[in-house]
Symmetry: C2
């Protein structure tokens, strides 16, 4: 590889996808209701190939599902915030995360490095409603302190396509 910039290290058994995989994923992202047959036509390969690729991508865990993407805003939840919190440290599996999972407005939870212990993404109907959600979080057993960051705007919404398109470039062939 004649890459000038240092190439990222890669685990030997890291899974990669090739260019056809990437094109298939991109195609399905653009028009998700497409059937296997249509995909094969658009990609210029046989139907069986598309079928096999999809099966393999799913089997390898690259494609984890085709769930409908839901707009929380369309549901009336216009406020997104990130809540960082310190928790009472407990050995073993984290019971705090389990309790947070019971709150519908908590969309995701991460354990993190740095001054705080957990970072979670929450949504609320309004800023005032956010207070209610945060109250619910503070009420969780083991939560000591929280600090919130409100997302005012989302210039780049969640996306993976550029990454997907990039992978085959970075790993054209296993040498």
């Amino acid at each position: 590889m004649s890459s000038v910039s240092p190439d990222p290290p890669r685990k030997p058994y890291t899974m990669t996808i090739d260019e056809l995989d990437a094109r298939l994923i991109a195609l399905l992202s653009a028009e998700p209701r497409l059937g296997v047959l249509e995909c094969s036509r658009r990609l210029g390969v046989a139907r069986g190939t598309v079928q096999a690729r999809l099966d393999r991508l799913a089997a390898r865990g690259v494609i984890t599902g085709f769930g409908p993407d839901i707009s929380t805003e369309a549901l009336g939840y216009d406020v997104t915030a990130f809540v960082m919190m310190e928790i009472r440290q407990i050995a073993g599996h984290d019971p705090v995360a389990d309790r947070l999972a019971l709150i519908p407005e908590v969309l995701e939870v991460h354990t993190i490095t740095g001054g705080s212990d957990l970072l979670c993404r929450v949504v609320a109907r309004t800023n005032a409603d956010l207070q209610r959600v945060i109250d619910g979080i503070v009420d969780v057993q083991g939560v000591l302190r929280t600090s919130s960051i409100i997302a005012l705007d989302t210039p780049v919404p969640y996306r993976v396509l550029p990454l997907v398109a990039d992978v085959p470039r970075r790993a054209p062939r296993e040498p």
Copy 2:
């Protein structure tokens, strides 16, 4: 539920979904490759109903797509981090976000309240690779300072289903 806590305020024109919508979304989330016909059978309604519901949910923007869900980990990107940054404030639309959008490893960008200006989620192959990604971010014109938080674990991965299931309960009927 005879909720004691005060009910969240709601915009008058806020879109809500009913229980059938919620069941449909939950069903499709669980088994996304299901066809309209299968859905109608499972939900015990006519096929036309499911078709109409799906069309309406899409038209109202509740369902924005059915894109394949990609596991960045399966692609070899095992590290997720949140990068907060201060930027040089510029009037008008934010050129920094546009430049960040060019970096494939940047999965989403928010403008935020608090000490920092932007929060973005990034992935990298390893911790060492994360340094490369962050370097790329710092190189972006207008970025003054960054601070990173690494996600060690994700006890609650992104999900909307509990919220979706909750909406019809909170707004059974427009009064």
